[in-house]
């Protein structure tokens, strides 16, 4: 289990209804079902991943996130979760709005492009960052939006999205002191719990 998913589960109220956007092989939902007795669905576009979810007994729905969440009613879930996917969707703003419409709260995780190693690669080598959480070359990356923790929080301010909780993980994917003090420099992955009044 990715440490990030364990940390997410600690934010989830037992018995909650959860929608997991881009749920992959269903690992997070299976884990949340076991640990937090959640119910709900995962949305996924890749057919091979959908089969893996079905094999794992996870409710999965074939869907294209870029088309929005119109099949889901307002506040029909306690949490709408999206892990490591926000940077790969084209209509970022609209999807954030949709998540906060469908879910009472949203949980978002993403790779922080402000992480020091990436900054060094650009500053010293003059190359786009490639690393553990960003394993792609610029020409084959599925990531279409590159942003940092400060960028994201500025967007939340503009859109009147409340940041209810934040956790920033270092290169070992642990929430240690360093990334707590200098999140945008020492944080490799950011986790947010969001809401909207």
């Amino acid at each position: 289990m990715r440490p990030e998913l364990e940390l997410i589960s600690e934010w989830i109220r037992p018995g909650a209804r959860v929608l997991d956007l881009g749920c992959g092989d269903g690992a997070l939902l299976a884990y949340l079902h076991e640990r937090r007795q959640v119910s709900g669905y995962g949305l996924e576009i890749d057919s091979a991943n959908i089969v893996k979810c079905i094999q794992a007994g996870v409710n999965v729905i074939h869907a294209d996130l870029e088309a929005g969440l119109e099949d889901f009613g307002d506040s029909s879930f306690d949490y709408v979760i999206m892990t490591q996917t926000l940077q790969a969707v084209r209509h970022t703003e609209r999807l954030l709005d949709e998540m906060l419409r469908v879910g009472r709260q949203s949980i978002v995780t993403f790779p922080n492009f402000g992480f020091w190693r990436g900054r060094l690669q650009i500053a010293l080598q003059g190359l786009m960052p490639v690393g553990k959480t960003l394993p792609y070359q610029w020409y084959d990356t599925p990531n279409v939006h590159l942003f940092t923790i400060r960028d994201f929080e500025a967007l939340c301010r503009n859109k009147h999205i409340d940041i209810l909780q934040r956790m920033v993980l270092d290169h070992a994917h642990q929430p240690r002191l360093g990334p707590r003090l200098w999140p945008n420099l020492l944080g490799e992955i950011a986790l947010y719990r969001l809401g909207r009044a």
Partner: protein, 411 residues
């Protein structure tokens, strides 16, 4: 010399017929005083009768879903043989699989070709038009007789998927899982239009005789053939037909003849399909089944609110559609999924990439069969675990077995 079946075949199968003496009230207001249902079973019913799976057939299907009949061509097994058998998605080592010919059919269950007890003549056009709900009620009686209180799963493609949906709605506590494949929550105007052209082809055939063609010793061959040819076009996709036939000319036709003989491969294929169908299907049944399709609309009973229809269901659903299916396109399956989500039901949905059109649900497409296999292996584990729980807790008696064999006889 007996034929040796492959190890994943259910092998030689024998249809059984059950007679039902208790009248069945139908949606049309009439009732059937008595009727027969022919069915086949594969696999073994377990001790607590929890491993039974019902396969519902589509428009032109029947009870012969897998294996081969005595004396039949072993290369032409039942219509869903690629899914049913030891190690196949509907694994007969785990499940007791049941498939029956629906009322109104022409393969042994009571239908237009059967003798009407009131006048000792074939029903013909006087056979009542039955609905999906009527079918489900008749199948529930079959389940009672087989000693099956609750199906582990009810499964069907196309019109069969509609029966699976209706089962979950009509008998919420009798269905653990509903697998709804290449279906729609109701027909569109376009769907009904195609059915109407098919019906008019049959009805306007001079040999139709207002449906009483049995008495004249003829069948409306041309009409039924055209109906089937039309249907076949809607079962395939444009891309699939292009790949299979293109504009190839039929063998023996080097150039255009400048007449109306068979020239293109696709014409030859459709004519062959149409002719073969006439020999194995009854025109009155075809008319009836198309009406059954047209009438299906579970939301109609719930103020046109499909999610209200699903509100009482207890089953978990697996919904599957195919990208090139334009008869019941993926968007139609998504309507079902949306309604289930809004009703808060458990559902998974997979859209399988395929160029086989509507027919894809009968094809051994790897991802499709993997999805079915993955889902059903969990169903098998679920019922087997429950079975063991029940054995260790004597307070819950197993479903009382009903003497299923009492009225059964081979056809």
């Amino acid at each position: 010399m007996p034929h040796h079946f492959p190890p994943d075949s259910v092998g030689l199968v024998t249809p059984q017929t059950l007679q039902f003496e208790e009248p069945l009230a139908l949606d049309c207001g009439r009732s059937l005083a008595e009727y027969e249902l022919v069915h086949e079973t594969y696999g073994t019913l377990n001790a607590d009768h929890s491993n039974a799976v019902l396969i519902c057939h589509a428009l032109s299907g029947d009870h012969h879903a897998a294996g081969c009949h005595e004396g039949a061509d072993p290369n032409k097994p039942g219509w869903w043989d690629n899914c049913i058998g030891p190690g196949k998605p509907f694994d007969t080592r785990e499940f007791f699989v049941v498939c029956c010919n629906n009322l109104g059919g022409c393969k042994g269950s009571t239908g237009p070709t059967s003798i009407n007890p009131e006048n000792r003549k074939p029903y013909g056009p006087d056979f009542p038009i039955v609905t999906v709900k009527d079918w489900v009620r008749s199948q529930a009686r079959l389940a009672d007789r087989l000693g099956i209180r609750r199906w582990a799963a009810v499964i069907g493609g196309s019109l069969g998927g509609m029966q699976a949906m209706q089962w979950a709605i009509t008998y919420p506590d009798r269905v653990r899982h509903a697998l709804v494949i290449a279906a729609a929550p109701r027909l569109s105007a376009q769907n009904i239009a195609f059915n109407e052209v098919a019906r008019q082809a049959i009805i306007s055939d001079p040999d139709f005789h207002h449906g009483h063609y049995y008495e004249f010793g003829v069948v409306p061959r041309r009409g039924l053939m055209i109906a089937r040819m039309l249907g076949h076009i809607t079962y395939l996709s444009d891309e699939g037909m292009r790949a299979k036939f293109g504009r190839e000319l039929w063998e023996g036709t080097p150039n255009f003849n400048f007449n109306f003989d068979t020239e293109f491969q696709v014409e030859s294929y459709l004519r062959h399909q149409g002719k073969a169908f006439v020999d194995r299907f009854d025109a009155n049944t075809y008319l009836l089944m198309t009406k059954t399709l047209d009438y299906f609309d579970p939301a109609a009973d719930f103020d046109q609110d499909l999610s209200a229809a699903f509100h009482r269901t207890q089953a978990r659903f697996l919904v599957i559609s195919f990208t090139s299916d334009w008869r019941f396109a993926p968007a139609r399956s998504r309507e079902i999924v949306r309604a289930l989500v809004r009703a808060g039901r458990e559902v998974s949905y997979s859209e399988i990439s395929s160029e086989y059109g509507h027919d894809a649900f009968l094809m051994p497409i790897p991802l499709y069969h993997e999805a079915l296999r993955g889902y059903l292996s969990r169903v098998a584990r679920e019922v087997n675990l429950n079975g063991r729980d029940r054995e260790s807790s004597p307070t819950i008696p197993p479903t009382a077995p009903v003497a299923a064999e009492a009225n059964a006889h081979a056809t």
